[in-house]
């Protein structure tokens, strides 16, 4: 199995500037980040990119729904070229709060499976509980640190990898051997949540044998 390719490719993707990966490329975790603060958007974007994620950052819940294709004024158009793997949203936003966005996502039959993480500067138990009850995956207290983001991404990719194992897809031990050198806390994985056919990223590693 060419699992070597998956690890090195993740690293490569960060270094290759402007490389046009195919539109349906789902090997990187694609995160939709929602925050009305420009400063916070810049920081969360960088935190996610450094964790090897692809990022789309928007400034409101409304825009997040539009991006997903859930806006009332536009019907979901089945656009899956940029599939979202995770939504990370601020809680306090003018207009639609992060909580309201969470609810809308969880109410959608198409998008309810997307994990949603809430960020907030207020460490209020009642708020945290409310979000978790509504289906939030996790809750980060601001200011967001690299360890917070790593934890979330690790958790996500680990979940998937274990699922893969059950389906008999990937040799877990082999992955771990390759991973330890590259990412100290993030085990690598093929991050696609679609079925594990040979991902297009392996084209970048011609010496990999399948």
């Amino acid at each position: 199995m060419a699992v070597n390719g998956a690890v090195t490719w993740l690293r490569r993707a960060e270094e290759i500037d402007g490389y046009d990966l195919s539109a349906s490329d789902s090997e990187e975790v694609h995160v939709l980040a929602v925050d009305d603060s420009l400063v916070d958007r810049k920081v969360i974007e960088r935190l996610l990119k450094i964790t090897s994620c692809k990022v789309t950052a928007v400034d409101s819940g409304r825009r997040a729904l539009q991006f997903l294709g859930l806006d009332e004024e536009k019907e979901a158009n089945g656009f899956d070229g940029l599939k979202v793997d995770l939504i990370i949203t601020d809680y306090c936003m003018p207009g639609m709060t992060g909580y309201e966005l969470l609810k809308k996502v969880k109410e959608s039959s198409v998008f309810r499976e997307i994990p949603v993480v809430i960020m907030s500067s207020e460490n209020v138990i009642a708020r945290i509980d409310r979000c978790l009850e509504e289906g939030a995956e996790d809750f980060i207290v601001k200011p967001v640190k690299l360890s917070d983001v790593k934890r979330i991404i690790d958790y996500m990719t680990m979940d998937f990898r274990e699922g893969e194992e059950r389906r008999g897809g990937i040799n877990k031990r082999k992955l771990r051997d390759d991973g330890d050198d590259r990412f100290s806390s993030s085990p690598p994985s093929t991050l696609s949540s679609s079925s594990p056919t040979a991902p297009s990223n392996w084209i970048l590693r011609p010496d990999v044998s399948k």
């Binding site: 603060s37 400063v39 916070d40 450094i50 306090c92 640190k145």
Partner: protein, 154 residues
Amino acid sequence: MEVGQMQRRLVDYTKTLFMEGFLDAQFLQLQQLQDENNPDFVVEVVSLFFDDSEKLLNNLSMALDQPNVDFKKVDAHVHQLKGSSSSIGAQRVKNACIAFRNFCEEQNIDATLRCLQQVKHEYYLVKNKLETLLRLEQQIVAAGGSIPMIDMGF
């Protein structure tokens, strides 16, 4: 001045800012996000913070200058400023905002006006210091050196 000296000066200056409470651990987080591929990350974030803050401070001045002060609006602006200052590690600005919000809740016009002055004061202080710090970093890079990573033991 040679690079080693400049680096030592930067380290000392940065440490002072931490000791005096101007910056906290979050600033170090930002520095760790900077690398050869993103050499201007800190400058960019700090610049966004400056622009954002000045806008908010203007809005605050106007909001507190009204005959009937809308404290909810004032609080919303302070909340934003608290958030962004927290995100870049501008600790004293953040703390001034926390105090400010308490007085907004009390709807105390005199106290909130004082708070505004305090926040402005802290903001201009940290702006000055960050500009100095970033200038020192710039000089080091221009001279071919690298920016030393500070270990504050956080």
